[in-house]
């Protein structure tokens, strides 16, 4: 790991300093660089100010090998990043014909009038590498500086991300002889501290692969990263560790793939078992359904959902009995269970998820955060009580995640019983 390079992320934009936008570019770049095995010690945000930008870049160049700058490549007078970086590198700007043609073509296709300041975006520092922008007008550039590099990317996240994947990642990979491979073991129903305790021996003895845990919206992600000369070798290093983690956490591991989300795991389970899901939501009001539909191709297993926010809707749409509501109130195990009975409205489903709870409370008699989630898999119902902390939207978000966790558990139970019966 002698050649491990240090990267520094500099985001340029007064709108970040004013707090008008969250700096998601910094997170994206940090995550990608970590996955490539680059070390990142500093991230800086600086405004659209030439002097402060110059100082920031010079400081970063003094302590890091690779600078990734985002923002300030646009057409306005405020956009200074290219000009300042070129000056530091002692390179003049020239008009790049191909970039100019590209900008003209985009304006033509959109039917917009091309104003002269847009051509500024085609001005490129001499001796730099031009990065095509597949999602916008401003090209990126890589400016070599002694044995270091300044990589300038556009600010809009959609343009930055695509340009990084298409051009910057291959460039960064070419700088290193090492290959880094990561597997993320994603665990639910286990708190972060318990999770860490359970694998402390592995963490303490880690060298290659490295192991780190991250709490993530009610889940714990254990990231296993190995480096080697080839991808195959790195994979070989990862495999036994991932196997060990799966053994320790059993069914609480829902995936070992970096890009698979909890909702994806649920949808995949349904597809594999040829089961269809229906949601009946009160306090989450559509959030569980919306997460399931996040997954491309969810239409195969998700046909419809109900949002029964009022008592009357619970009765009319899901057949919850008036007597049950009166005896136990809308936020109760009993009502949650009746919400997930298959009644004769709309197409039948095999897996039903029901959520009812208090997202918040203005009244001491109403316990904010009390949520009941019921899951019915092919006629068998399980119901659980939860007490979530946080404000209205935190409670709703936690309940949504927990609904997905519970439905996954119930489906696994069902599938293992099926296997047992078949055997």
């Amino acid at each position: 790991m002698a050649d491990r390079k240090i990267v520094e992320i500099v985001c340029v934009g007064t709108e970040i300093l004013l707090g008008n936008i969250v700096n998601t570019n910094a997170q994206f770049l940090a995550k990608e660089c970590a996955a490539l095995g680059l070390s990142n010690y500093y991230q800086t945000v600086v405004g659209d100010n030439a002097e402060r930008l110059k100082e920031t870049i010079e400081l970063a160049l003094s302590r890091s090998d690779i600078l990734i700058l985002s923002g300030g490549l646009g057409p306005t007078q405020d956009d200074l990043t290219k000009e300042v970086a070129a000056k530091i590198a002692g390179k003049e700007l020239y008009l790049d014909k191909k970039s100019e043609d590209n900008i003209k073509a985009i304006f033509k296709a959109r039917g917009y009038e091309l104003t002269p300041n847009n051509i500024k975006q085609a001005m490129i520092p001499k001796d730099s590498i031009i990065l095509d922008n597949s999602n916008g007008t401003a090209p990126g550039v890589i400016i070599p500086y002694n044995d270091k590099y300044m990589i300038l990317l556009p600010g809009p996240p959609g343009e930055l991300k695509l340009m990084f994947k298409e051009s910057v990642e291959p460039f960064l990979r070419s700088l290193s002889k090492e290959v880094f491979v990561t597997s993320t073991v994603k665990v639910v129903s286990v708190g972060e501290s318990i999770c860490e305790t359970k694998i402390m021996d592995l963490i303490e003895n880690q060298t290659n692969p490295t192991i780190a845990t991250y709490a993530h919206d009610g889940e714990v992600h254990i990231r296993v990263t190995a480096n080697a000369e080839t991808e195959e070798e790195a994979n070989k290093l990862i495999k036994p560790v991932v196997r060990e983690l799966k053994q320790r956490f059993g069914n609480n591991v829902y995936t070992t793939h970096n890009d698979v989300s909890l909702e994806q795991a649920v949808v995949d389970l349904c597809k594999g078992a040829n089961l269809r899901i229906k949601t009946v939501e009160s306090c989450t009001a559509g959030m569980v359904a919306a997460r399931i539909v996040n997954v491309p191709g969810a239409s195969e297993i998700f046909k419809y959902g109900l949002i029964t926010y009022s008592n009357k809707a619970k009765r009319k749409l899901t057949g919850v009995k008036k007597a049950t509501l009166e005896k136990y109130t809308a936020v109760s195990k009993e009502v949650a269970c009746e919400m997930v009975r298959n009644i004769d409205i709309g197409p039948k489903a095999d897996v039903l998820i029901g959520v009812t709870g208090y997202a918040d409370s203005n009244d001491e008699s109403v316990p904010a955060g009390l949520v009941y989630i019921a899951v019915n898999v092919c006629g068998k119902t399980r119901v659980e009580e939860y007490r979530f902390n946080g404000d209205r939207n935190k409670v709703r978000t936690k309940a949504t995640t927990q609904a997905l966790v519970l439905v996954r558990e119930c489906m696994l139970e069902y599938l293992s019983e099926m296997t047992f019966r078949d055997a």
Copy 2:
């Protein structure tokens, strides 16, 4: 404005450098400081490393008046912020009895065992101001340093935000003789560049109040900020500008309050007119309902919603005709309109919102981003076609916002007709 202070934000945590979390603390602090009239020129992220943290703090102290640091106040050996900042200020740490008792009480209440490292959180630099943590165990501190201040806040956003509001904001206000007041004029259905062009004369002549526009998830927010010696005077400066903006953008302004969201504006309109909303969603699959229910007290006007993802669900749950689906397909004006007819299932509603579209596409014949939104207010239906850019979730998010925009427009039309008829 001679006493306008410069604030610098330093977030401490290796998890941010690894890209595991988005730095929402920086955005929160930046926004709050801007609202207080503080200038912010730099934001830095540094890891849990004593030497680099020391360098970062020293650099920040050399160029700013007030440092706000978040993170690194916890119980583990990694948590270094207090120790490093105290050393820079030349202050020793002492055990604060009150903070210790508070930590013990929290552990007792939660039924957790108190480990010795938790007491580290009660160690306070001499001569500093202790900030109570109403949401956790680690207190914050304000360490005076010459004529400057280091303000140390805990990393968890829920703790940081509450501590800022309860203790830091009053402290920062006490440092300045100026009062800053902001009004945010929130505009929909007008693009940012057109919006800016329409008020360029106001922007160019701005002094006090200042005027700035920000694009924000399909909306444009125009922030008007005035400073004066009293809040009353600042309000007097803002009023005529806000009035002018409302005149220029008319009904496209949905609020002039900083904290009112688009969904809040829709819910308020419904409450005012005593109308109830029902949602029927296909591609957004619950996102419109979930946003409406974001608003506390939404239960008064939102009773239920349907998620009709499949054709069969559209037929069975909302009475869309088989012939209409066959002739026009599920993504059509005609189907959108039939989705918002009041059919005899569940309680009746006065305002119905229907959304159908293609969130993405694997097939060239399917135009990704094509969405139809229909709104029915008391029997009168309006339907619009949209073509949204972006990936699956971007399209769904944009469609959700647009549904709220359209329902607001339709309700305003309805209400103005009512007024006309009544007159």
